[in-house]
Subunit: 419 residues, 2 copies
Amino acid sequence: MKLVVKKFGGTSVGDLGRISQVAELLRKFLAENPGVGLVVVVSAMAGETNRLTALAKSLVAEPDPRELDTLLATGEQVSIALVSIALRQLGIPARSFDAQQAQIATNNRHLEAQIEGINAAALNAALARGEIPVVAGFQGVDEEGSITTLGRGGSDITAVAIAAALKADACYIYTDVDGVYSTDPRICRYAKRLTQTSHEEMLEMASLGAKVLHPRSVYFAMQYAVPLVVLSTFNPERGGTWVVPEEELVEKAVVTGITYRNDEAKISVHHMPQGIKSFNLVFSALAEQGIFVDMITQAGAADGTTTVSFTVPDEASSKALALMQALVPKIKAEGASLERDIAKISVVGVGMRYHTGVAAKLFEALAAEGIDVSMIATSEIKISVLVPRKFSEVSIRALHRAFIENQPEIALERGAAAV
Amino acid sequence: MKLVVKKFGGTSVGDLGRISQVAELLRKFLAENPGVGLVVVVSAMAGETNRLTALAKSLVAEPDPRELDTLLATGEQVSIALVSIALRQLGIPARSFDAQQAQIATNNRHLEAQIEGINAAALNAALARGEIPVVAGFQGVDEEGSITTLGRGGSDITAVAIAAALKADACYIYTDVDGVYSTDPRICRYAKRLTQTSHEEMLEMASLGAKVLHPRSVYFAMQYAVPLVVLSTFNPERGGTWVVPEEELVEKAVVTGITYRNDEAKISVHHMPQGIKSFNLVFSALAEQGIFVDMITQAGAADGTTTVSFTVPDEASSKALALMQALVPKIKAEGASLERDIAKISVVGVGMRYHTGVAAKLFEALAAEGIDVSMIATSEIKISVLVPRKFSEVSIRALHRAFIENQPEIALERGAAAV
């Protein structure tokens, strides 16, 4: 039997009108696809998780995590009941499943639990009876029977995990946008919706700031080779973007997307005497304080000293600067500085594995606009650069033009390293 | 180990301030009663169940009962989490239990499920670890693992059932009044709070309109001989009313309370030719339509005909009248009439079992005020009369004066019939 999982986010079930819309969408799908099995996964109504969190936090600054999870899980429980009620009204034999009923087992790390397994028996039995299970996203049950939640992007993870457990043919992620774009359409009017992308590209794009899917759910889908479809609840006929295993891509574009993030800051420690020990002190000081470091570069000077620069989340930047300033006398550096007006722009594409010249083309495109790049970082399928934040939009448009609007003419060298 | 169950209703946990108040009340109790085991049962925050019901009903006029139960159960789940969070903040090792976790098994009659058993193992294990279980009232789980709810008064029933299952020493019902009164204090300024009453008296008073406890929970407590204490969340030091097995009553008052209800209407079918068949037609017509009949009287006339009168819930009275009018030609009665401006006043007390003259005293008290009684019904421990609704307050005050303010001087006849 063909089987699909369809997941609806908080905006898609944000009010009763939208819940009715989701029910109608599913009725149409079932009518047009007789014999196809369907499992529905839903998030809490938009705003509900925040409302519940605020409720707990106005009682206590740091609510007990187990109890906070019990509280938050009611958000999805409300949604599964309302969606099931709306479906049954249309004559569809829906049946709600909370995490206990769907047998979604997690570890006991409350607020950011990880799914350890789904016993597919209960959902399979419902499917065999011809029912449409409507499963609460975002939640699980630990070994002791306590309710857990999965953290940000949790409902997507639930949907992907169920698709993997039931060996579904695809997992549809319905959201408020109609797919994944080659870049942010608000910045670049020529941004185009991707028909296809690979899990790995999507993972890079998700991590780099495309807000459509949470990296953890993409990672999960990649691990279990679950095809994802991202599409709009409100315009499902537009088709959306398929996220598939790389080998199934029809076309391997050199650059699939241009992403950006403006929430990092750059810190430099200037003119450190060279030596591994100073490096070690810098990064272990940051690690001890739980500060996440993203890009790192170093540059040697003629006097034998080294300047090391790195990026950290903007919200941690003052703390990071203070740590570095405290370290300056100890490692005999000249000083430490913080630069906050930066943006990180990335070009992503699996085709980079097989093409050279991407970095050259990138620098050329930015140089033509008079934009200096202050840091660069690469992986097999992406190149990220740091530019002044005021040039963020200009950079995105220039790179989109160079790599996506004008098809790149770069020599194919199978197996060659990227860049 | 001494063990008590304490249940807090919707008003008691109606907002965050009140939840903190409940937590403080419990902290004080634990500090003053070291070594006493405690299980807390809570309702949904006041208004929440109505809000959730309205949400479902604005989707669909008649929501699927299983799904409505899943929806409604979130109300108590929010409460157990918030109360546990507030208690843990005070250093009390609280732990929330939903119905699944507390192992409250019910039948599958959604929206009015009945508790079939509580496996005390989980709660006992928590108590043995020194924890304070905070259990969701009003809900259970059926054989299939579906969430059920217990209907009106459900949280009280949960509390009593847990007290029975754990063999607790008492079940405290915290509410927004400070106990059970001898009559409605808004009507009679001399109404006095009862220190003690029996389950059976309470059951009569609950059924007859005292809104403090739901009859089902009192019935449950009577069956399992669980002592109940009704008291105010906001003035717990006032002490409240104990509801105990009759044999434990210190004083068996002839009349413990005067209750009333204004939500019934009286229907008469006039001058029916006598015969069991007509009676049968009258009451089976009502039963077929699910109309609940309360008091019934019949009076024979000199011409050999009978007039039968009965009371029904006011909301069903028009329907009942129409049924009777349709029946009039068939049973050759003279006509049917409806009287809506009536009130039912009852005097209740276990002492009636052992005293005569209560009815006489009742008629005398009402006659002294010039009030005619149109119907009368009796049980072992109560007498109910129907009076014109405009005389409702006057009747209550007169009976309160006669039976409660002035201690009755009635000859004791052990074992004599009431009335």
